[in-house]
Symmetry: D2
Subunit: 497 residues, 4 copies
């Protein structure tokens, strides 16, 4: 057997893990990795790094697999930082790499030396590392991949000096990559919770994005039905994915994101069971009691940080699906509570000129295919879409939980690539679309059959809404004349209408 080098050993590892779709924007420091690129791998080029990471984020979430990203040294990582922030908020397991100068030129800080390689992405990733020797690159990538996929999932970063790829592999060190990590645990303190749920007079569920990400959609529905729970979606800003079918009879709507209104909405309930969500993604600041009088809150989450920072209630840190299943098993079969009644159908919307968001969303709802997917980044139309579409299948909805614009259009390309059999619609505001407009080119270049619906209003409508809320007058920079997304798309050979 010919000895492997770092490059071939790394591709062997990626192949073994099914990580054969790589998203990137290379520079000279990354070329040695791309040398003789294996034909069973796909390299998806983005024109700007924010779109590279955004596409990978969508792909990782929609495929459920860790995804390899290839960025250019310091400035390339820099361009991607906003998108990495989103990936962290979205808990997307990205293995992000970037090149660095040749090791021998780093100490004199030759051009393109990434002098703070590991410190720059550090606040946003679970692990940030530059291996001390070329031979350790495969082990570092393996360790990074494990960390990315352990709960809470999230991005990791490895910096790789450009001369490392050609180094002969230290086979014992490369073997360090062989471990497999399974997360889970045995027997749980769910008994007390089951009792509380059985004994509650008027309990309610709030479902968050990790229900979908954790494969717990079925368990959430089963629990809601068995325990006669009305179900709210967690407030939209943190609702990166939908955790409960919005057309289900038990579904009540999306919880308001501010402290006072959320608490008012939940008034009357004595037990609030939050599942797979932070408590809560509040914004903006409308004060009020954290909980309705007399209510107790319990959150089930796999993220210790979400648990620790919850301002009220009790938390159970555990796998969401396993815990819901155990809870169902521990519940008595009947509880004497009346199941909730279905909501009214979406309200009829009046036709306006120009068309308002609800009208547009109603039109979308009328043609939306059964197995369709929505990727949403239209801040002033979020609730209109949720109300009109009432998405009711798992894996149908992706929204940037971190609030960083530029996620939507990029991620939609990645989602559609990961789910080629499900028609995907990206609903994006005209202003939002600009943050990652370059993703359109990747969609065209790789023939991704994505539909993009751009809502136009020649302004940052959400900021005008906030201006009213915050009593801000005469703020500059809120109007967007002269935008023509259609024209840009046509320039990149995308069919428009």
């Amino acid at each position: 057997m010919t000895p492997r080098n770092v490059r071939t050993a790394t591709f062997d590892f990626l192949r073994a893990r099914g990580m054969t779709t790589i998203f990137g924007n290379p520079g000279s420091t990354e070329l040695p990795m791309l040398q003789q690129f294996p034909s069973d791998f796909t390299y998806v080029l983005g024109l700007q790094e924010a779109t590279v990471v955004g596409m990978a984020d969508g792909y990782a979430q929609a495929s459920g697999r860790p995804t390899f990203v290839n960025l250019h040294t310091a400035p390339g990582v820099g361009n991607a930082m906003g998108a990495i922030f989103n990936a962290q908020a979205n808990k997307a397991p990205l293995v992000i790499t970037a090149g660095n100068q040749t090791r021998s030129l780093m100490t004199l800080q030759a051009n393109l030396t990434n002098r703070d390689a590991t410190r720059m992405p550090h606040p946003l990733v679970k692990w940030s590392y530059e291996p001390p020797r070329a031979e350790d690159v495969p082990h570092a990538i393996a360790r990074a991949t494990h960390l990315a996929t352990l709960p809470p999932r999230g991005p990791v970063f490895v910096s790789i000096p450009m001369d490392d790829w050609a180094a002969e592999v230290d086979e014992p060190a490369a073997e360090h990559q062989l471990s497999r990590v399974v997360s889970g645990a045995a027997a749980a303190p769910v008994g007390e919770l089951a009792q509380a749920l059985a004994g509650a007079a008027n309990p309610v569920m709030v479902a968050g994005p990790d229900v979908d990400a954790g494969g717990a959609w079925g368990a959430a529905v089963a629990l809601a039905e068995q325990a006669a729970l009305p179900v709210w979606a967690t407030p939209a800003p943190g609702g990166g994915r939908i955790g409960f079918p919005e057309g289900h009879p038990h579904f009540r709507g999306v919880l308001p994101p501010a402290i006072g209104p959320a608490s008012e909405t939940l008034a009357g309930h004595d037990l609030i069971l939050v599942v797979g969500s932070s408590v809560f993604p509040y914004y903006p600041n409308i004060p009020g009691p954290l909980l309705p009088e007399g209510a107790r809150l319990v959150v089930i989450t796999s993220d210790p940080d979400e648990a620790a920072r919850a301002p009220m209630g009790d938390a159970l840190v555990a796998d969401v699906r396993l815990t819901l299943e155990a809870l169902i098993e521990a519940l008595p079969s009947s509880n004497g509570r009346t199941p909730p009644q279905p909501l009214d159908p979406p309200f009829e919307v009046e036709l306006t000129d120009p068309m308002n968001a609800s009208t547009a969303m109603r039109a979308l709802g009328e043609v939306f295919p059964e197995n369709g997917i929505v990727v949403l980044e239209a801040p002033s139309a979020t609730l209109a879409l949720r109300n009109q579409l009432r998405l009711s299948k798992p894996g149908s909805y992706y929204f940037g939980a971190g609030g960083g614009l530029g996620f939507g259009l990029s991620a939609a390309v990645g989602v559609q690539m990961a789910q080629p059999d499900r028609p995907t619609v990206c609903v994006v505001g005209e202003g939002s679309a600009q943050y990652a407009i370059q993703a359109l080119w990747s969609a065209a270049a790789y023939d991704v059959p994505l539909t993009v619906l751009v809502l136009r209003n020649e302004e940052y409508a959400i900021l005008k809404w906030f201006s009213m809320l915050e009593n801000v007058e005469a703020a500059p920079g809120l109007d967007l004349p002269k935008l023509d997304v259609s024209g840009v798309a046509e320039a990149w050979r995308i069919a428009t209408s």
Copy 2:
């Protein structure tokens, strides 16, 4: 009700959590917190910050409770950093706080401003925070306490400007502290592991410190007996606590800490079950295969990072005790394997002059009380102690897993305070004792009935041993003439012999 201020609200929280023993070394920036110190609290003064954190580390581990630490702004935190490193390695849940300048003087960086308050301890703690307002201090301390106690446990840090303590509390913000966090999970992937264990020809267990820390000692013994497993202790450098009774017939000894020897020691086993340990705390570098030919390794750990960085094998990230109990339940009752035979009793040691470590440890063993505790920091005598004492009760052994000297003497004071009914012996080398010699004063000042056994040899014996191993000759700084620990202890009114 009179309105509470930040200070009284914080003490209310600490009281509610049973955190009434505080370790500290105050400066002027901490005085406002200590104002009218409540009489139901105990303040344990250490003369240097390394001993303050060391004592708290021992106390937290031995009491099983989060422990509040009160340090002086930047330089005080600085002095403690080595001890915080140890606390992290020991997974000790410390809520470390330090004062900072008055908020109004911080931007002009008045003297004693901790200008990088949160960045300095950041690499060593799970959370590092300075609240944006005085009113948020109680919430921040509550959040910090939760984080410290979630697995893997460890220190957290909160910086508190000195004028914050007198601020009137924002009661809704203070209520943010009311949540309770429980960790655990439901149903587990232990079935496959149980089958592997049942079917193995010659399985073995390696027990680590989290067995003791996680209350899993009984489960570990039950599993070893039911599955006829011989049991090794994880290599000594990472064996901060003992995970299996060393006088038990199944116990085989302490695994060597280097790659080659560890693998040789485990030769012949086909399944290696590591419990509550990293895989492995190797040191120094003696190459060799990671595993014996034909062996499979599975590690059960509650620390995702330990799982991710393991160089070989499979990992199950879960609560150690719950997983062992589930594993026992899932195992068939018989397996046809012969249980291991007890080890020979500790070897007779020859009398030497000066006395060698084994002789000293044998003498200690002869008088060691049944419910005694050892806190050990005598690098060249570690194995002698383990072999001669064969400690066999939970919570009987504390060792600095991070390898930072100064832990031993400090932690011993804390351990004895946390376990007043169990006689504690600190076995410490003459050189090690110097790193935290000030802890002797605290022991005297607070009448802590600790026994300290100082092993003398007028040198850094472990470094001379390493010098041989690494072929280092003529190194300076390895001799320690003129030390007189006894004299120092007497100066602080400690009885010596």
Copy 3:
């Protein structure tokens, strides 16, 4: 007098410093700052944060003044990180701010909380700060402004919770902003250098970007003429600005950026005087001696870090212009050396189809106005432009010294705004243009009379060149089909041809 609030006090400070052109992309957390935006200020909106900072970078460099930047909390700062990296490499004095959540919601980490506000930009800025009280915001911005303008100049960062702007000002704290900082020093160790220069047989000058940035262009020409020095430009990757008239008879060309070739180029010189440059911005790795046989190197720089990391020679850390002037004064009036002869005029270029870079640059040179400015980001055409244009006026050339793409198009908009009377041409590659394509919109929206010359080749030509150099074959992601910058520009109402 009505009491000022933080917002009005901040605008007072900015007005006093002439910082009335603000570049930004606001979100809801920044609206309170923009409330009642003063009519004597200009707000320049960029559609994506990379273009916001890029425009400000160009503006700051070309105006010579610190420039205020207004970004959105975490994700906005994230998107800008690549451009901040460039600004650091360009030594552009940017006062970058971003909003944060309301202080009362930060500890529970409400949506849009920038939880690592100061740590994210830290590796790239001279100071990263979030004031401990609302009242300290004006002082913090003043301190930030001073730091940004002290040598070496560079970006700074201040995070501002959104409720701070309305706080009433603490007038004593606001007065903290009144100090003025002058940099410079008295009498210098230039005597020894003057002697060495006078006595050298064949000295040479290498001029770097800080000659232009430091206003030392005239001094550099005078020294070269008085001491009969041939002059090279520092290697192109670090040549963010031109430090010597390239049409001057003493000018020799641009030094190659790799170790071996640079040293060969300087062979024969016994004294190499580097002015206002790092030593050197090497890339890629072509080994060789650092200096020609027998040569001594001395660098004059105002950047201690550039001095400390120089791999050879002596360094004088001081203001570049003052030092050159002192050197001229200390030099004898004659030296017996023959002044260098002018270079040949730019070579005639052959017409090719498609047109090559030299042809395009020759055509540009023929119509280039006397007081024109070039902003360049066309990696494979850099040397062609330098050779054909031979720019010979101060402040005529801007290039991203950090190598991060996206600088060119954005900075060109800012440069043209700062220098409205000097026609500016942005020469940009088709691939480079995509990294900040949104800057075209700002140019159109603010009627900036910029000329953009896009060089097209449907590939990343520089990467294909590097692939040859590094023997990399079959790398993916180097081709750029379907790009149509013209079409995109037209969609944004920009005249194209």
Copy 4:
């Protein structure tokens, strides 16, 4: 010539720079560096890392040379962090190194791996680095040494994996270490300042520690005499060194450290010239105007950060000595102002029992030798010492500017080693002495003829004083019974009386 390895090349560099006295506390990861320790070097062992860095700090300041420090991996660096904080505040040029694991074991994080090697000391040092290859260690140490000595001076850090020392040197890379860095500048904006000084009715000077550190003592005296300036010492907390002879007729005393009192003290002056100090090291918070009515303040400092954060006045960032000399030259020879009259001699102190601080200091003053040096860390006796001793020779006074206790006793050992011909007295409080009590051992072991004067009071007197100031009652931890420094010293064979 036999090829050099990293170890021998490093010692060659240190020898060439005169850095042959090394302070350290080694562990196994540092042994490879100490192998065959050269006989022309001295290794000074400290028993705990805080004392190692403290001694080196004193040595570097008193010798004026960069000083090499050798610490043990993570926990060793951790123990030293408080002392590194002090060294930063003291602007002591320390080249601090620590070992790390063997490179091949770092990625699996074997025991003693310093996993955040560069991030831990980062907030306190000017550069924190781990070379990417063994061959780069000598270059990294050279670069670190340059950075440490450039203004503002301060500590730097290099992490060195233990197997690097034996690596064969890459001679071109090793040659990277040959550059020499000189700081200074040419011609200065002092004219305006000279005019202001000449025209002022009643100017005053405030002299700070960098006057002494920068060799500007003579220039400060000459300027004060020529311009008839009364002179105050900068407030004691930041007065790490004395910048003006305190027995000189122009000397007025030590400025109070709080805003209001400092301003009152300077009332009546129209121009306040601060030299070599921050403006000002305030503590505690006593509000008031920053400047007296009608006064202008100008500070001359070589530290850009001190300049930028000054809350009022103008700053001139430049070499202190060169600027004072230029100022003297630019001043007219006469100014019509009356020179200040000498202070009264130190007040007679009443004898008290127990003896108070002034009595003790008067007794010290009576026997204090002409060329004596004081190292002071007795917080409640600082002003008594300054007033009674009125030190009047350069390099006679060292005080920890950062306020971190433990500096005094350690630094005194280093100062006496660096200045063997000047009798050194360490004046230290009984409580302060405990923070680095281990330094006594080093003094004994290396026969350092240091005199230590311990002021005893069985309490933290300064904290009791602050308690009164801050109206804090019933604070615990302020009493120090059972201390016996004498006994401890005797145990270490130090003569006591």
